[in-house]
Assembly symmetry: C3
Homo-oligomer: 154 residues x 3
């Protein structure tokens, strides 16, 4: 787990404000794509070799093809059931590495689920730890580790 000690941005306050806004914008776009089932576009917000490692899986989901396939499968299932999921990131801590082209992000995640004609429900709360890198001016996820609060790491 990322240490919880880093807080004061090591970068200039003006640059930190830019990075912080860009990360928030990135997550908004990233989850709008995911929740719309835009599998390829979502996968393209990871680096070519990016991975997503839910701690409940023995190995990470690696590479855009595998990431997109997972989204497509889940989205098709949810669409068949008439369910809309919404992913939220919040309590976002951004710690830039030297040079500010790589960011260590630790944040909380909420996942909501609403069946058509039914009631919205909170599915789970999680902790998400990302390594974001800037590629051709845009942020991408290089590494993602997610721990579910109902199934915390041992």
């Amino acid at each position: 787990m990322t240490t919880l000690t880093a807080t004061a941005p090591a970068v200039d306050p003006s640059l930190f404000a830019q990075l912080y806004a860009e990360v928030q914008q990135f997550y908004a776009h990233h989850f709008h794509l995911l929740d719309a089932g835009a599998a390829e576009e979502w996968a393209a917000t990871f680096t070519e070799d990016g991975f997503f490692h839910p701690e409940t899986l023995p190995v990470p989901v690696s590479g855009r093809a595998a990431l997109a396939a997972g989204v497509r499968r889940t989205h098709d299932e949810l669409a068949a059931e008439g369910v809309q999921r919404r992913h939220w990131h919040g309590m976002v801590s951004v710690v830039p590495r030297e040079g500010a082209e790589v960011l260590d992000v630790r944040c909380y995640a909420l996942i909501f689920s609403t069946p058509r004609g039914g009631s919205a429900a909170l599915r789970m709360t999680c902790v998400c730890e990302d390594v974001l890198v800037r590629v051709d001016g845009a942020w991408q996820v290089k590494e993602r580790r997610v721990t579910r609060d109902d199934q915390p790491a041992g």
Copy 2:
């Protein structure tokens, strides 16, 4: 629906950070007013001709008088029942138009409800699409379209 493709701010990163912070501050103030039942003050955060179009209504609620009346009516009902609602915006995507005096915003919304002495509950999750314009230095809602996840647009 707004396309999901726009992500990289077309504006200078420093200006983008300013706009992003201003939009977040605007929504905070806007919903503090709404949830407090400050009907006229809330309606004044829309433009004179601003409208709010929940997709469940055949026509939008247009103009400050109608907007304020709706809030007053709902707030009176909730107050009589001893219920406090809370509106949250998150996953905010801000896309400035040329000149950065008009912003296309797409975000998620949560509505919570708590009866006095009872338990907080999630009422619904929504998608909100706003057009914000700067009027005398302050942001206002010119257009708002909201889709409920339990009653998605056909």
Copy 3:
């Protein structure tokens, strides 16, 4: 209650963006510590004489030793039950006082709770009013007042 009228930052937009990002980063770090049960480190994010006043208590919890003791007690109880809490701040309104070394913040709070192997649940929604001060370059809570929506102030 803080007045709801202040919205436009009285400071330069570039400085406002910096302050807004710093407050968000501060809350993220602050709650990551709290939810991890890092009692002393969390208490150190208050000023030496800082206090936390839930309106349900007749007097505030004052000073770092008392703040840390409260967190330790609650965290030990939750750990024994296998429960993970998560605190979220959102809808954050930041109003800098003259000089921008003191900030009046009004925001909403969500508290979630997840038992190991069980389902995540929303525990409550609150309103939080903080006075943040800058001490040696880092923000600290000098005053915190919290109202629960299920037990609103009379």
